[in-house]
Point group: C2
Chain length 240, copies 2
């Protein structure tokens, strides 16, 4: 009588009863529909009733799975953060280098896969709203991955064709970098030197700059290829 997919570990520790499995399934479908809705109409249009209708259920039924609209919203935001953090960590752990460039491309792919999910995290804030506390922990995870990657690289890339003296302060010491030496609470436990902190922030803000404008459609009509602009910014980050 055992169905193909549900046999083996069916009674292992942490196994779910049929009811629990069903619950998880429905919860997952609610979220799927929610993402579809957000992709189609934006996050502010998220509606429990509309999701229920699309699932062929009555509105109140969803209250078995989420305490209300806010909880669903919160969960989606959490999942978005989690997804990006996982993506980054997977890149990091993967054999394919896992360096800064790989992270940049992973970020772009992740954002293009679902623009509204990207905007849910990094887009226009709703004035009143405060993200759930545990998402800040995930933000830290994300930043940490970036700090790790940048810490691997030498502060001044080896200019192989150059025969200038290997002075670290070849470029004028950035005041911001000095400022970071004293204001690095956000990288509290991390041994990254100020230069890595600075480059991590530049990585974040520059790639976000290109990506968010691209995803928002600000480049439509201009006929250049946003991917090349992204690449140029990445190259510049690696050179500097």
């Amino acid at each position: 009588m055992a169905e193909p997919g549900t046999t083996a570990a069916g009674t292992a520790a942490g196994a779910k009863s049929p009811r629990e499995r069903y619950r998880a399934q429905v919860r997952a479908e609610i979220k799927e529909r929610a993402w579809e809705q957000i992709a189609t109409s934006g996050a502010s249009a998220l509606s429990l009733n509309a999701i229920a209708k699309r699932m062929g259920m009555s509105g109140p039924a969803l209250y078995r799975y989420f305490a209300g609209r806010d909880e669903l919203m919160t969960e989606l935001i959490r999942d978005a953060y989690r997804s990006l953090a996982d993506t980054f960590q997977a890149v990091r752990a993967s054999g394919s280098g896992g360096g800064v460039a790989a992270l940049a491309h992973a970020l772009r792919d992740w954002a293009l896969a679902d623009p509204q999910r990207y905007f849910l995290i990094y887009g226009t804030p709703v004035p009143g709203y405060h993200a759930p506390d545990d998402t800040t922990a995930i933000s830290v995870e994300i930043v940490t991955v970036l700090l790790d990657a940048w810490s691997e690289l030498p502060s001044d890339p080896p200019a192989s064709t150059s025969d200038r003296p290997a002075s670290t302060s070849d470029r004028p010491a950035a005041p911001f970098e000095e400022h970071l030496a004293d204001h690095r609470q956000w990288a509290a436990g991390h041994p990254a030197p100020p230069a890595a902190l600075r480059r991590t922030m530049a990585f974040w803000t520059r790639l976000h700059g290109v990506l968010s404008l691209e995803l928002a459609g600000q480049f439509t009509g201009m006929d250049f290829d946003p991917a090349l602009l992204f690449e140029a910014e990445l190259e510049d980050l690696l050179r500097d």
Copy 2:
């Protein structure tokens, strides 16, 4: 019988009748309240009824001034674009240099003055919505100012303390810059060289990157000063 403020040019060409003046006044107040509402609750919360209530009028009264919610929204977006374009042109025309750095600071001031106005233009797009056509003309104005400013500067800044040969291709020629030479429709009538195009785009995307994350509150908790990060990015743009 003439009132103090309404005497002199009262009958000049283009003078407004009292009714016309009143209309303009009320229209302006509607927009003011609309901006307040957007600043407080975000653009998606814009509501004619709420504005009317706040003005001590009934909802339908506003239909004397705007055809509907969409028209008001459109007008606000237009005004936002117009305001930024005017700000840029004023900087350009002003005696205080009016160079790239001045434009950058004007942009930051403009954005900080009303973050939600900034996001109305450059923030998360509402999937269905298309900005009114004439705003793209204003976008062109804005980009043109930037192109003008960047065209003034030499492609390679004079490295006064350096005695290297004045080779233009000191840094590897960016593939993106070459790409722009062939894809410059967005700068159609402008004589700016590809390097200026590239730097204009970098100016836009990098400053937007810092600004939008700052305005969105992504730096809160990190204890550094966003103004210094902005300044660092600006310096880097000027150096490169």
